[in-house]
Amino acid sequence: MQKLNYRVVIFIFALIFGVVFSIPSLIQSKEGKKITLGLDLQGGLHMLLGVKSEEAIKSRLKSMAGTIKYVLEDNDIVIDGLGVNGDKVTFKVLDPDDIPKVKELLKKELPGTVILEQGGAFTVTLTPKEVERTKKMAIDQAVDTIRNRLDQFGLAEPTVAKQGQDKILVEVPGVKTPADEQRIRELIARAAHLQMMAVDEDRAARVYTMSPAEAKKYGDVILPDVKNPKEKYLLKAIPILDGSMLTDAKVGFDRNNQPVINFKLNGEGAKIFGDFSGKSVGKRMAIVLDNKVYSAPVIRERIGGGQGQISGGFTLNEANDVAIALRSGALLAPVYVMEKRSVGPSLGADSIRQSTIALVLGFVLVVVFMVLYYGIAGVVADVALVANLFLILAVMALFGATLTLPGMAGIVLTVGMAVDANVIINERIRELLREGASIPKAIEEGYSNAFTAIWDANVTTLISAVVLYAYGTGPIKGFAITMSIGILASMLTAILGTHGIYQMLMPKITRQKLNLWFGIKA
């Protein structure tokens, strides 16, 4: 046998590399880099969410109104008719002497706004730049918030990523039951908008006869009770404070052993809360979460320390989810589903089983056929094919690529196409042998003659695989990846590797045994 040549050495290294790095994926060990199974194979939830970023503008205006109210009251300036109308906040300053001071205060407190005043009537609007910024922030914040919530929920490796300008991709693998999935979706969608609102005690008695439009006229809003939606509260529309001033939220239990949520406010929130409660002894204050009133206790004394409690209407799971949502912050803008795919774990397992059967069957067919048709040359091609398969798995594992159902189809196809290179080469060698070329010449020229064809064919296939990757989504991307890796690996195994093997075996090949070696009669 001839000495090792560089081609065989490279091939052997590639084979060892392939085997070593595909082992963790094949035996599903805990250590080492593995191929992740796509959601279609292991089951899970995939969602593409849109963000209603206009809503973020609305709530931004509302909180601006809150700031205006607090700042001006703090400076003993009396105003009237404060409210949000479309895209602006309007109010009237009663004492004309205060106007310059109001302008100065607002300029300091509300950056990124345009403040207009006419005869004491103020309108405050956001600059176009600020509108864009707020919308963009709402999307970025939604991504962070959803990621936070899913992380805290304790799920294995959820993916939350911004896609394009205004979409959010959420992928949660390993969801076991539809009920779990629904809980996850509700956690994602929960606005978690906490507000403390003053009850409008002057008109509270008329709440059941008042229309929402009339309430709006008084600067009020009607909200239902969480447990009994028929029970209504009439509340001042501009909240005293909201969840943005929250620093912590934890699940606890009240005297009746019912789950409650205890929350803490930051310094500013504690001060506002303290000031308000001090001024409003004897009145009621509602704790409102996502536009439902959880409780409306009467304030008995000034409440310092900035702590509060949300109680009523929770199961333990719900209380946990709400606490998570509060801790990770409110969604500035609501999200909606643009695309959703969920696969149960049993279906994923079925898909793996079926495509594995197809893969193995196709593989065996090809391998047997090659040996029957080409003899030992077929065996050499099969060795390259096996190495190719290991290489695909190894490279995918190292890149942390995801194996999807179309990806498995991609592997099956690569098996079919990878032997193509060897078929082309073997046919060329046979041709030369028939024309009476010597064995070394037939092999060397066979390889060089076949090369341009294989190269051009592979490059063009690669072109469509790359385009597919660029324009595909999820599973289709996986298909493009396995195809590309397979094509590149086949250059190494099917061309270089088999060439080296022939060079090594060359002295053993004789004209008398051509039928054994290349499947043709001498």
Binding site: Q182, A358, A457, L468
Partner: protein
Amino acid sequence: MELFKYDRPINFMGASRRFGLLSLTLVLLSWGLIFTKGFNYGIDFAGGTLIQLRYDDTQKAPLQKIREDLTKNKEFQDATVTFFGNDREVIIRTKSSSKTVGKDMGDRIRSLLKDTGKFEVRRVDMVGPAIGSELKEKGLMAMVLSIIGILIYVSVRFEWRFALASVAALVHDVSIAMGAIVLFGVEVNLDILAALLTLLGYSLNDTIIVFDRIREGLRKIKNPDLAGIINESITRTLSRTVLTSLTTFFVVLTLFLFGGEIIHGFAFTMVVGIIVGTYSSIFIASPLLMWLGFDVKSYRAKEAEKRKREKEKEKLRAMYEQGTL
């Protein structure tokens, strides 16, 4: 084993007119089908919801009862219910989709159908209308871009007529495969798009290998008769063409037969595509070279010119390096 032994060239080009006519008819029929009957778009492109249920082992899924219970809800008025793969599994398709993240179509189906027996929700796919049209656009874009990429590459490596002929063969293959998809009412989802694009690559593979041999023949074969060169090149690659098509066909066929219901459409498209792709690389792509007016003599003159220029360049470079220039 030897199936094809090169003896003398087979006269493929002699029959090219007849095959050309056959292909033209098939392509026109396919286009007719596509434009009249149209694709059966699945939810990926049309938007909507697809829900897959599996009933307990002992039970055949009660289709009638499912339909009745579904129509009680307005959202599912247009829903179609069919068996999927076996009679325990059911696919429910509807055009409507919901935007709410919290309680969605799948959850509603679970409560709507609770009286129909014990079942498991195995899959819920929902695609909003905006996404559907975006995917369609992207799919078309992917097709066009790969074709442009291939055109450029083949023009550079061969000649523009080769590029045009290979792309025409591609359009031929994809059109007929699409025609088959429409004819058999295969649901068109993203996986079909992937299959069509793979087909593009595969059929091109076949064509390129024949073209490569023609390119070689143009250099080596003395007789400047194009039809003769093509016949000889095709005959010499025939063994490879048939073998590779057969091995790939085996693989795709096992995928079609054993790969499961979900991958069915993909495998079907590939099965059709491989047959058409193999046929077109022999009977369509190569004669197209002739029909496009490829001229052996002027090609050879151009190649000779190119070689001459390269030699001159080398000579100049050598002189420059030696310092004589």
